[in-house]
């Protein structure tokens, strides 16, 4: 599925300094029943965001109007658990284009890259700096620069570089996906399949 190209993103950010945020929090299983990719943002962090009677939980950050933006900053080991791409869809559909954490779970990270959400892994110290800056001033802006592979706290100019493979970076900047690539080498795949051990 095509997605918007990612280049340089400047935005305020939403802080969620909880560790091991798992995919069941990102999108509980009971909201995985759709057969189309629509409406998942409404259920992002459903059980942290809403009471059982569907009223908003006032103390949850997404319900606090002073925090907003296209960047979500999460605690260590973000996205652990299930392979459900719905978790990444929920993040994207809610309006986030980038998740920053000091550590990501593998499958979630892959899923994000496949749908146009940029996972940015920073050092634990820089993650702390970001949390501190946002808590001190919710209007703090971050710049995520994909071509340069940097994330910068704009108020102070403090920055850190992040890693991404050349291939995935090129995909994100151009809005390409892996299926386009794989389709283009199909004859090579069919030839390969003739010589498998099983």
């Amino acid at each position: 599925m095509a997605y918007d190209k990612f280049n340089i993103l400047r935005s305020t950010a939403v802080p969620l300094p909880i560790e091991n945020i798992d995919t069941d929090q990102l999108i509980p299983a009971r909201f995985l029943k759709a057969t189309e990719r629509v409406g998942f943002g409404d259920n992002l962090f459903r059980d942290w965001r809403y009471n059982p009677d569907n009223s908003p939980k006032k103390d949850f950050v997404l319900n606090n109007p002073i925090y907003s933006g296209k960047i979500l900053v999460g605690g260590k080991n973000f996205g652990s658990g299930s392979s459900r791409e719905h978790a990444a869809w929920a993040v994207y559909d809610y309006g986030f284009r980038c998740v920053i954490s000091s550590f990501f779970a593998d499958i979630f990270k892959n899923n994000c890259l496949n749908i146009g959400v940029l996972p940015v892994q920073v050092s634990p110290e820089f993650a702390e700096k970001i949390f501190t800056a946002i808590h001190a001033d919710p209007k703090t802006e971050l710049e995520v620069n994909l071509p340069e592979q940097t994330v910068t706290l704009l108020a102070t100019g403090e920055k850190e570089t992040f890693e991404i493979s050349t291939y995935k970076k090129d995909n994100m900047m151009n809005g390409f996906d892996d299926i386009d690539y794989l389709q283009s080498i199909k004859p090579e795949i069919e030839e390969f399949a003739l010589h498998l051990p099983l």
């Binding site: 069941d24 299983a29 057969t35 658990g81 791409e85 593998d106 995935k168 794989l182 090579e188």
Partner: protein, 468 residues
């Protein structure tokens, strides 16, 4: 050059390496279910492309299926719609479909091995993180997202950076009442839920060599819970005896060729791992979790540790214990249990029901506990009946449900109510995993059985006859 088991299987399946990018990896077997496949099929439709090798994909309905009255129409319209989508997509693209009511229907990671779809040295993927289960056969098996499901359908390949390699050795004699589930929960408690992120794990040592295939599947199943992409165990006689003669296993000449390949599937003596860990099996106790991720587990006789003694931040730890209604220093023994769930791709196989039955035999279900016993497949269901286990269970006050994922992720009606405590043989104790507000304690079928007959968390060793 010396290679690990993982290297051998991975390298055999690399179609092409991309400079500064992932490998294009060929996938031998692809399993799909109703929840993570519909959007992939929509993608195929919108691009106007076909399934390249429909005979390499198998569909079964499991996440969303009811576990009672499976002969009746599915009441939840959203679930029914998803099940129907799996059927119509499978039919449209020529994929084998084992829907609700089909004799081969069951949990994807239980039926795959049972029918010989799972083969040593194969690459196997499914839109489900517990695909790591199939690594028990010496396969590279891991969970993928829906975009990748679409990739496999359309080109039988996915694009993956090669993970780092870790070997976990466990040697020694396991104590009475210590099962493969306890070995896995112990390892996860040592590594935490992110300790193996970025790695593919090989399990080695006599503890795994002495395990049945069912036990090995339980261990490999839980690899993802320490963050590993997957886990695998080198195939041996136990593996080959299990695989031989199953419906989709190679036959005749193809079997001889496959057998020659299987025999190459071991780590070379001088191969190097990026990380290697060794544990003493004799020190492992029956395990139980007390928090909201699978790394928060401990020997059942221990007390809940202080925040100072666990990895990670105190605030997250406090939030977790608060959700569970537990406190630092609490003993788990004697905690009230409202529900017991035995089943799932982790512990829904025949050995798990044999273990459960061994404890409840001659005892009776505690009055105020609700117990859900959910076999992983119709084969498991038949084995429970044919081996006489059902008679023993019935005598002890238990009933058997029908196959499916059930309360493991509570997508169907099998939900633990808010605030209630469940001892579950499944794989995740995340907040709300088994239903909004549910509180899960992960454990083995023996610990589940001990809770089912006493109504509280109980060390199963106190109920095992030899010890009394």
């Amino acid at each position: 050059m010396s290679k690990t088991l993982f290297d051998k299987v991975w390298d055999t399946h690399v179609v092409r390496k991309i400079e500064g990018g992932p490998d294009v990896l060929f996938i031998d077997r692809h399993l799909i279910h109703e929840v993570t496949s519909p959007v992939a099929f929509l993608g195929l439709k919108s691009r106007g492309i076909k399934v390249l090798y429909p005979e390499r994909t198998f569909a079964t309905a499991d996440h969303n299926t009811p576990t009672i009255n499976q002969h009746l129409p599915v009441a939840d319209p959203l679930s029914a719609n998803q099940l129907k989508a799996l059927e119509s997509n499978s039919n449209e693209y020529g994929i084998s479909h084992w829907g609700l009511g089909h004799q081969k229907n069951g949990i994807v990671h239980v039926v795959g091995p049972e029918y010989g779809i799972t083969q040593p040295g194969a690459t196997i993927v499914c839109g489900d993180s517990h695909t790591s289960t199939h690594g028990a056969f010496g396969a590279i098996a891991f969970g993928i997202g829906t975009s990748e499901v679409e990739m496999v359908l359309s080109t039988q390949c996915i694009m993956q950076p090669k993970p780092k390699k870790m070997r976990i050795n466990v040697n020694g004699k396991l104590g009475v009442g210590v099962t493969p589930k306890d070995v896995a929960l112990f390892i996860i408690s040592q590594l935490t839920t992110s300790g193996a992120t970025g790695y593919f794990v090989e399990y080695a040592g006599d503890v795994f060599e002495n395990m049945s295939m069912e036990g090995r599947m339980t261990v490999c199943n839980l690899s993802i819970e320490m963050g590993a992409r997957g886990g695998m165990i080198a195939p041996d006689e136990t593996t080959i005896n299990y695989v031989k003669g199953r419906e989709f296993s190679p036959k005749g000449e193809a079997w001889d060729k496959a057998l020659a390949y299987y025999k190459t599937l071991k780590t070379d003596p001088d191969a190097v791992f990026d990380k290697e860990l060794t544990f003493d099996g004799a020190t492992i106790e029956p395990m139980i979790t007390y928090g909201t991720n699978p790394g928060m587990g401990m020997g059942i006789s221990h007390d809940i540790p202080d925040a100072a003694h666990v990895e990670g931040g105190a605030a997250t730890y406090a939030k977790s214990l608060d959700y569970m209604g537990f406190h630092e220093g609490d003993s788990m023994i004697g905690k009230k249990v409202d529900f017991v769930f035995v089943g799932s791709c982790t512990n829904g196989r025949i050995e798990d029901f044999r273990a459960f039955t061994s404890i409840v035999k001659g005892r009776h279900k505690a009055d105020d506990v609700t117990v859900w016993l959910v076999p992983g497949s119709h084969i498991v269901e038949s084995q429970i009946k044919d081996e006489g286990l059902l008679d023993i269970l019935t005598e002890a006050g238990f009933t058997l449900r029908q196959p499916g994922c059930s309360a493991c992720l509570a997508m169907n009606d099998d939900k633990i109510p808010a605030g209630k405590y469940a001892v579950s043989t499944s794989n995740r104790n995340f907040e709300g995993r088994q239903g909004p507000g549910s509180r899960t304690m992960l454990a083995s079928p023996l610990v589940a059985a001990a809770a089912a007959v006493t109504g509280v968390v109980t060390d199963p060793r106190t109920l095992i006859e030899e010890l009394v």
